[in-house]
């Protein structure tokens, strides 16, 4: 018995949701970053699933690029966090609201 691809999609959806909620509820910038990685992974899963479904490689290629980008984003994101930490000694996103209204 093969698993229906829909299940993978549901799995991907739940992963995506968890990631999204993570972004919303966590205050640690690093964890938010990780939550975003979760979401990206969810997207990857969806792509791979669809790729399997359609019997085309485009999805997997896409995933490849997403991973590249995720790495790049992670690097830049962490650099930003580091730069911020140097100035403010905190990575709590709730503390960085000089600019508002």
């Amino acid at each position: 018995m093969t698993i229906p691809l829909t299940w993978y999609l549901i799995l991907s959806g739940s992963l995506f949701t968890i990631g999204a909620v993570g972004v919303l509820v966590r205050r640690n910038a690093l964890v938010i970053l990780m939550s975003i990685e979760l979401m990206l992974n969810a997207v990857n899963l969806a792509f791979v699933t669809f790729s399997r479904q359609h019997e085309s490689m485009d999805g997997q290629i896409f995933v490849f690029f997403i991973m590249t980008v995720a790495a790049a984003e992670a690097a830049v994101g962490l650099a930003i966090v580091v730069a911020l930490f140097k100035n403010k000694s905190t990575i709590n996103v709730d503390d960085i609201n000089i600019m508002k209204w």
Partner: protein, 483 residues
């Protein structure tokens, strides 16, 4: 298995190659020729942008798809390239001053600007969702960094972090949307998606609809449409002014470019559905942007809200989903580059290190002290407010005419009422400049030939396009997507 590497159509990606190389060259120059004054880098970049512009110009003609249909050069993308290159050129000219003034004169700045420009060009010419995504990311990542470029300033850090977190968050939605589109159609190629949808009458496939909606979130974020606009004021305020200027012009235009291409080409059958959504978004965006701008005291923040409002106007043209609307967007975005960058240029000129003078009250009595700056600023403000004979009016006129011609009268009425509201805060700048007494000593202007050139270009564009827009309108009309 054999791999035959297909022929490279280098001609079609020549501008991209050129600008990338230019970025790298600038970086190398910075590393290897420490002695060179930093202005040289700006000069080099500017030159590169100019040459790229010339090459872009030579590409005009019928659409050319290259690299297995992942990239396309057509008049539409070429027009957008003009917009990007123009904005980049002006921003580079502005930056030379600003970086020096703020003490962040690093060569990487120009490289990143050029890379971001490249990303935008990629977006405008993307024929495949993968290219869209990559272009978007190159642009975004460069911008994240640029926003945090003043590393030792907390505002800059905050700006970068907010931009980054929200940008990445939005990207996830965008990607999920792309995944769903891929899932529903089995392809990532924009044209093939369209073919699939038309052939299978998959207009009401929930996956496609949801995919499209998620794309709206992703692009809406970049376009600064309500309710995805919230990053804009904070990021604009905190980012270095030259970067803010850059962000307000090119990337936004790029987002519109890609949005238009994706939605007009690949999802035309869903016009009914998303035109309603965009209708509401456009109305909200205009209104929120304009209304909240009134209460602002920081000029950059005010311009941020104003840029949200302007996104609303452009969205209105998107709603019409007509070639007229598209042409009006092209024209408007170009005009917006001139007037908005011009305003930022003035802001830069009036600032000095550590004291950027960003409160609107800091401009009290400017008209007495620096009359020319005041006049120039007023022209940009009037143009942004859409008052003839400046280009901003022409742009708005074009957009409203598109809306009316497509029958979106209520939206047009909301639009014009908004532009009346906007007059209030644009006027306030002229009010403080001319009708209030100076409350502080004005520092000498930080002028350099570069920024003067930037001002001249923007002023020229703002006035010329207001009075003799014919040629550009013609160009815009020719640059409308045909398939």
């Amino acid at each position: 298995m054999e791999i035959t590497i297909p022929p490279f159509d280098l001609k079609s990606i020549a501008p991209i190659i050129l600008i990338t190389i230019a970025g790298i060259v600038v970086l190398m120059t910075d590393v290897f020729f420490k002695k060179l004054p930093k202005e040289t880098l700006g000069y080099l970049s500017f030159l590169a942008v100019l040459i790229t512009g010339l090459i872009t110009f030579s590409q005009t003609g019928s659409p050319v798809y290259s690299f297995s249909n992942t990239f396309v050069v057509d008049n539409f993308s070429i027009f957008f390239n003009y917009i990007f290159l123009m904005s980049t050129a002006i921003v580079i000219l502005m930056s030379v001053n600003y970086l020096h003034q703020e003490g962040v004169n690093f060569g990487e700045y120009y490289t990143l600007i050029l890379f971001a420009t490249m990303g935008m060009m990629l977006m405008a010419g993307a024929a495949d969702l993968i290219t869209v995504f990559l272009g978007l990311e190159i642009m975004s990542i460069s911008l994240y960094v640029l926003a945090g470029f003043k590393r030792d300033r907390l505002e800059s850090n905050e700006s970068a972090l907010k931009y980054f977190l929200l940008g990445a968050f939005a990207t996830c939605f965008l990607l999920y949307g792309m995944a769903l589109l891929y899932g529903a159609t089995g392809t990532t190629n924009i044209k093939e998606i369209a073919t699939f949808i038309t052939n299978n009458h998959a207009f009401s496939s929930p996956m496609i609809i949801m995919g499209a909606s998620l794309l709206i979130i992703g692009f809406g974020f970049k376009m600064a449409s309500v309710p995805f606009h919230k990053w804009v004021p904070d990021v604009y305020e905190g980012a270095p002014t030259s970067v803010t200027a850059f962000m307000s012009a090119g990337p936004k235009a790029a987002a519109f470019a890609v949005f238009l291409r994706v939605f007009l080409i690949s999802l035309p059958g869903l016009e009914q559905k998303w035109s309603v959504i965009l209708w509401v978004l456009a109305a909200l965006t205009m209104t929120v942007g304009n209304v909240v701008a009134i209460a602002q005291t920081n000029i950059k923040r005010m311009l941020a809200y104003s840029s949200i409002a302007h996104a609303g106007y452009v969205l209105m043209a998107i709603v019409t989903a007509s070639s007229l609307g598209t042409a009006s967007i092209l024209f408007y975005l170009l005009v917006y580059v001139f007037m908005n960058l011009g305003a930022f240029a003035v802001i830069i000129i009036l600032g000095k290190r550590g004291e950027e003078n960003l409160r609107i009250d800091d401009y009290n009595g400017l008209g007495y002290k620096h009359p020319i700056m005041a006049i120039v600023m007023s022209i940009f403000m009037f143009s942004l407010a859409g008052i003839p004979p400046f280009a901003g009016f022409m742009g708005k006129f074009y957009i409203f005419s598109a809306a009316i011609k497509s029958g979106y009268i209520i939206l047009a009425i909301i639009g014009v009422i908004n532009s009346v509201i906007s007059v209030y805060y644009y006027l306030r700048v002229t009010v403080v400049m001319y009708m209030k007494q100076p409350t502080r000593e004005f520092a000498p202007l930080s002028l350099s030939p570069y920024i003067i050139l930037a001002l001249v270009i923007t002023i020229w564009g703002t006035i010329h396009l207001g009075i003799f827009p014919s040629s550009i309108i013609e160009l815009a009309q020719k640059s409308v997507l045909l398939q």
